[in-house]
């Protein structure tokens, strides 16, 4: 069953055309990758999916809701169904790691603070941070830790959908592999659907079920990784050499 379907998306910034008719479907429970050379509009597409950016033409449907004519109530509901991890974590710098993760729980649920603490502690551990780190502020931790904390925040509400923007960039190789394993584990356990933009080849081979490769404003390949070399695109030929 497709959980996200994108039909004929056109995106244009002033004169510059970024997407010229993209079509893709993301199924429930799969880990889906958006790949392509830099500047091809992967992150733009991701931003369009999470309603941070408008597209010029076409339609995006997520969990049976079309983003172009969504009501504010539905949009708000949808935002609770997904978690987003930004490239540099995008933690709120005025809040500690603990408060960053607790924020959606405090705002959207009626859980007791003791229960929230338990949940936060669990999420902090699950992404590979130490309980002691939770008191620190974003300015006091390293880039890799920020990324993990950002993932913990994205997972706070146990979302059905997870958007990751280059999750393993800036991590050391060991953390990156742990991150991949974590994503696989979470997918199996919680039935997550994961959409990620990535450049990390290891991570691409280890985690992704299917990929869409965007090049020259179009999707040049969509499908499982095994057949990727069948495509004639220059990017694919050099990237997967």
């Amino acid at each position: 069953m497709s959980i996200i379907s994108i039909r004929d998306i056109h995106t244009q910034f002033d004169e510059k055309v970024v997407h010229n008719g993209l079509n893709l479907d993301i199924n429930e429970g799969e880990i889906y990758g958006l790949l392509g050379p830099s500047g091809c509009g992967k992150t733009t597409l991701l931003r369009e999916m999470v309603m941070l950016q408008e597209f010029s033409k076409g339609s995006i449907t997520i969990l049976d809701k079309s983003l172009s004519d969504i009501s504010e109530v539905d949009a708000q509901k949808l935002r609770r169904e997904w978690g987003v991890l930004f490239q540099s974590g995008a933690l709120f710098s005025s809040l500690s790691i603990h408060d960053n993760i607790a924020l959606p729980l405090v705002e959207y649920t009626d859980l007791s603070s003791a229960m929230i603490d338990e949940i936060v502690k669990f999420k902090i551990n699950i992404v590979g941070l130490k309980s002691g780190d939770s008191k620190l502020y974003p300015s006091q931790i390293s880039g890799g830790m920020k990324k993990k904390a950002g993932l913990a925040r994205a997972l706070a509400m146990d979302p059905k959908l997870l958007f990751l923007d280059e999750p393993t960039s800036g991590l050391d190789p060991i953390s990156a592999r742990e991150f991949d394993e974590l994503i696989l584990k979470l997918r199996d356990m919680l039935g997550l659907t994961v959409v990620m933009v990535s450049h990390d080849l290891r991570s691409i081979y280890d985690t992704l079920d299917r990929v869409a490769i965007i090049d020259a404003k179009k999707i040049v390949y969509e499908g499982p990784l095994i057949d990727v070399k069948s495509s004639k695109s220059d990017f694919i030929q050099t990237f997967f050499k």
Binding site: S94, E118, G191
Partner: protein, 374 residues
Amino acid sequence: MASNLTQSIQGNKLSINFSGELTLYTITTLEKLTQEIRFKGISLLVLDLHKVSYLDTAAAVFIVNLEEEYNKQSIKTTISCFDKKLLATLELVKMQRIITNLETEIDDNKSSFLQKSVVKINQYLNGFLFFMEFFGKIFLTLLYYLKSFKHIRFKEIMFELNESALKALSIVALTSFLIGLVVAFQSAYQLKLYGANIFIVDMLGISILRELAPLITAIVIAGRSGSAFTAQIGAMKITQELDAMKTMGFNPFSFLVLPKIIALMIALPLLIFVADMMGVFGGMLVSQVDLGISYEVFLDRFRAVVDAKHFFIGLLKGPFFAFLIASISIYRGLIIKNDTQSIGINTTKSVVESIFAVIVCDALFSIALTSLGI
């Protein structure tokens, strides 16, 4: 969506049967329900999850918590569940528990009052030392500038002049025009009572040229350029642009700091001159309309009673005010830490402190010059 629980008792064995979806949104209700359960004569407890269709990690934490809690109360508790996915989620929570328990928690113990104050004093001392270092660097860069004509960053200075003088011209002119208008209007009313209409020229001339124009200009510039300097340098620090400059061998003090200070020191006297003219013009307008003093009479009297020294004292204050505003706001920008909140705090402080410093400096000028008889 809904979830519920029922209980069934067989002898000394109680089973709590959960059903439906256990999620973040439903566990608070369940928590309340479980607290109402009576455990009199119960020694075996089964948490039955057979009818649970979905379990998220928050709910898994809740279930594992329940199990631990009852086990502590010496009720033998077990979780009964066949669904592989649910078991995996529960297992993950339990594993995490074990790892966390192994981690020895280092709780930073409460520091005493003395410790806290020492830390605080140390912070202030370091802040003061950094401020001194900042002035030292400004001085060194100035020497470096003076060493060779080529070292002076004319392009940057011109850019800053355009930003903080030319673009501020209209707001400074308008503000001082209005101040001249208001002061004249208020004093005209009082002077009319005594028939001392013509003295408005003395009053306006001295107060605007000597005090009001420099102060108003400095306050407008502190709000305008001061906040801009702090925010710009702070943002550059956060995005590591300052570090990049340093590694490429561009000394931020000669590329950023000193051009700003010099530009502002040139700009402020010029702006004060404009403020002088606009302020006096505003006063002149009111004198004619309200007191019937024609422009010719006003200007004649102006030349006769207002000494040039008042004008020059006003201009002389400009570079001093400018130095204070620029150095305070740049210093505030440089001590911004790596988080967004500190941009806000330091920008506020930079504007407040520079206005305060300007007023203190003005008071010192007033006292010094008056006692010198100027």
